[in-house]
């Protein structure tokens, strides 16, 4: 597993680099036609062209960064909101903690993709996308944070701090957070994997992070897949690589962080 994990991190960082500098090295714009529709790969368009004759390579390079950054923002927002709720629930009295967690349980009953669709119907833009993904990931983050913090909350140094009369921000920031940061970071990795999935799915529905979102490239390439399979293959491989690399990296991070709570 460890070799696979290392390969995962290496692949992840390589992919990250390509995605981040992608818009700078794209040879063409996303909208400029460079050849006939569904042209096979050639010197002018290395991955061929799409149904409007636009350069697939440029569209792919331009679409990666919005996909990645939106996923990161959404995962960060979800983990932050969820962790805060979970930490407060763990530190507060039982009744209040249960009341904080109960609405979140109702959210987990809905498949994430449905919540995404619901939010995007009401708010069809990038903000809606970030909110939707954050809402789907917050309940699970809250559970992780609550159970991690519950193990720490009863320890002597925390009770000592409560007896000293320290305030909430001190308790959370100085007494609890340093001990639960590992599991929370590992949890963030898992939420990021889920966020990539959902953001790509939104792109697939035409409601994604940008006009050249990889999910959108897939759905645009499907009708002409028999004529220009490369146009479908490239974004399919892109999403699969990003998802697999993020999954392997987060799996390894989760294994490393397990020792921190001992």
């Amino acid at each position: 597993m460890s070799r696979l994990g290392k390969a995962g991190w290496a692949l992840f960082f390589l992919l990250l680099l390509v995605i981040l500098i992608g818009p700078a090295i794209a040879p063409n714009t996303a909208t400029h036609p460079v050849g006939p529709p569904y042209a096979p790969p050639s010197g002018r368009a290395l991955l061929g062209t799409d149904h409007l004759g636009r350069d697939m390579l440029s569209r792919l390079l331009l679409g990666g960064r919005p996909l990645l950054l939106t996923s990161l923002a959404a995962a960060a927002a979800g983990t932050l909101a969820g962790s805060l709720t979970g930490l407060v629930a763990a530190l507060s009295r039982r009744r209040l903690g249960a009341w904080l967690m109960r609405p979140l349980d109702a959210i987990t009953a809905v498949p994430p993709i449905l919540l995404l669709l619901l939010c995007l119907t009401a708010l069809p833009n990038r903000t809606g996308l970030v909110i939707a993904v954050a809402i789907t990931s917050a309940p699970l983050s809250a559970r992780v944070a609550r159970s991690a913090a519950a193990q720490v909350a009863g320890r002597a140094h925390v009770e000592n701090a409560i007896a000293r009369g320290e305030n909430w921000s001190w308790l959370l920031g100085r007494e609890i957070l340093p001990l639960v940061a590992g599991p929370l970071l590992a949890d963030f990795g898992i939420r990021f994997v889920a966020a990539v999935y959902l953001v790509a799915a939104a792109g697939f529905l035409g409601l994604g992070a940008s006009d050249t979102d990889w999910g959108r490239l897939i759905v645009e390439a499907l009708p002409g897949a028999a004529l220009q399979p490369v146009a479908l293959l490239a974004p399919v491989i892109g999403v699969a690589f990003l998802a697999v690399a993020a999954n392997l990296a987060s799996d390894r991070a989760a294994q490393n962080s397990r020792g921190l709570l001992a």
Binding site: L4, R102, P103, D105, A106, I107, A109, V110, P111, P112, I113, L114, L115, L117, L118, C119, L120, T121, A122, L123, P124, N125, T127, G128, I131, V193, Y197, A200, A201, F204, L205, G206, L207, G215, I218, V219, L222, A225, A226, P229, L232, L233, V236, V239, A240, A243, V244, A246, N247, L248, D251
Partner: protein, 323 residues
């Protein structure tokens, strides 16, 4: 007084909890969406719409009423089996009829394939823990686990429909006909759903079986000379089954969600396709109804999974032990 049967007790308390959760969910789906920033009317009519037009559409859809009044009306309708009307004025129940069956067919076929395959792979990997076969299965499922269903579907289209020309890339089902009569259109959607679910189920079943195989009582059976077959049948399978049934039911119900995108890839006439079209046209009423229906289905399956675990675990079934 004779105590209530533990299964009945679980069923009743689970049912009560689910009704509360479903009520909470309906509130979140209706009122929560209303609280989101943005406005479905403006986004549907576009930025050029005049204020009069916006007000007219608003009144037509009943959106000028306070949100709690609308929620009450909506809820009352649902209790009577009326799921509301789409933006075009069609009743949602009418839109759903026919499509629900197609989607359930897809999920059931995929689950039916999932059960033997995941059990077989999971047990085989657990029995060969650390050896090449186990590593191949574990690595393969870890890689496949994170890939979205529609990406798997894209790969399958490329390989089976375009590369090998074995199957149709689009599920063309003539209107009024059932996909059962055109079984070749079912293969690719079912396969796409199956592969992702299989990865998850296999991993969980492998982990459960590997734990059981290392347990002292299995070691004892082995040392006392029982055959591998007997050990599997009497010790391993009963211990793994409660976990496996949970996973199968959960994966089966999550296929309803995953099917949304897969149906869109193949143009399969199920609820997923309806849902996607409604999202793209901003038809909030249809989306809200579908989310509530599918959320209710998920809760029901989770309850069944709970009861199955009680039935398959002797300690819980008889009400003895720590419970």
């Amino acid at each position: 007084m004779r105590p209530v049967h533990p299964l009945l007790r679980h069923a009743l308390s689970g049912l009560a909890g689910n009704v509360v959760l479903l009520a909470g969910l309906s509130f979140l789906v209706f009122v929560g969406v209303d609280l989101l920033p943005g406005d479905p009317i403006t986004s549907r009519l576009g930025p050029t719409a005049t204020p009069e037009r916006i007000a007219a559409v608003r009144a037509e859809l009943g959106l000028d009423q306070p949100v709690l009044t609308r929620y009450g009306d909506w809820l009352a309708g649902i209790v009577h089996g009326d799921l509301g009307r789409s933006a075009a004025g069609q009743p949602v129940t009418e839109l759903l009829s026919g499509r629900v069956g197609n989607s359930i067919l897809l999920a059931c076929l995929a689950t039916a394939c999932l059960i033997p395959l995941s059990f077989g792979f999971g047990l085989a990997a657990a029995r060969r823990r650390g050896r090449p076969a186990d590593r191949a299965i574990s690595t393969g499922s870890l890689l496949l686990l994170s890939v979205p269903e529609f990406v798997v579907a894209g790969f399958l289209v490329l390989i089976l429909a375009i590369g090998l020309r074995l199957l149709p890339a689009v599920s063309l089902v003539p209107a009024g006909s059932s996909p059962v009569r055109h079984s070749e259109v079912l293969v690719l959607p079912v396969l796409s759903l199956l592969l992702v679910g299989l990865a998850y189920a296999t991993r969980v079943i492998r982990a459960a079986a590997a734990g059981t195989l290392r347990a002292p009582y299995v070691e004892f059976l082995r040392l006392s000379g029982q055959s591998e077959r007997t050990i599997l049948r009497t010790a391993v399978v009963p211990a793994v089954l409660p976990v496996a049934v949970q996973i199968w039911l959960l994966t089966g119900v999550s296929m309803i969600g995953g099917a949304v995108l897969v149906e869109k890839v193949f143009g399969y006439p199920g609820i997923g396709e309806l849902l996607v079209t409604s999202v793209q046209t901003g038809d909030l009423a249809v989306v809200q109804a579908l989310v509530l229906v599918l959320g209710g289905a998920t809760l029901a399956v989770l309850l069944i999974a709970d009861l199955a675990m009680v039935l398959l675990t002797p300690r819980l079934r008889t009400g003895g032990g720590a419970e």
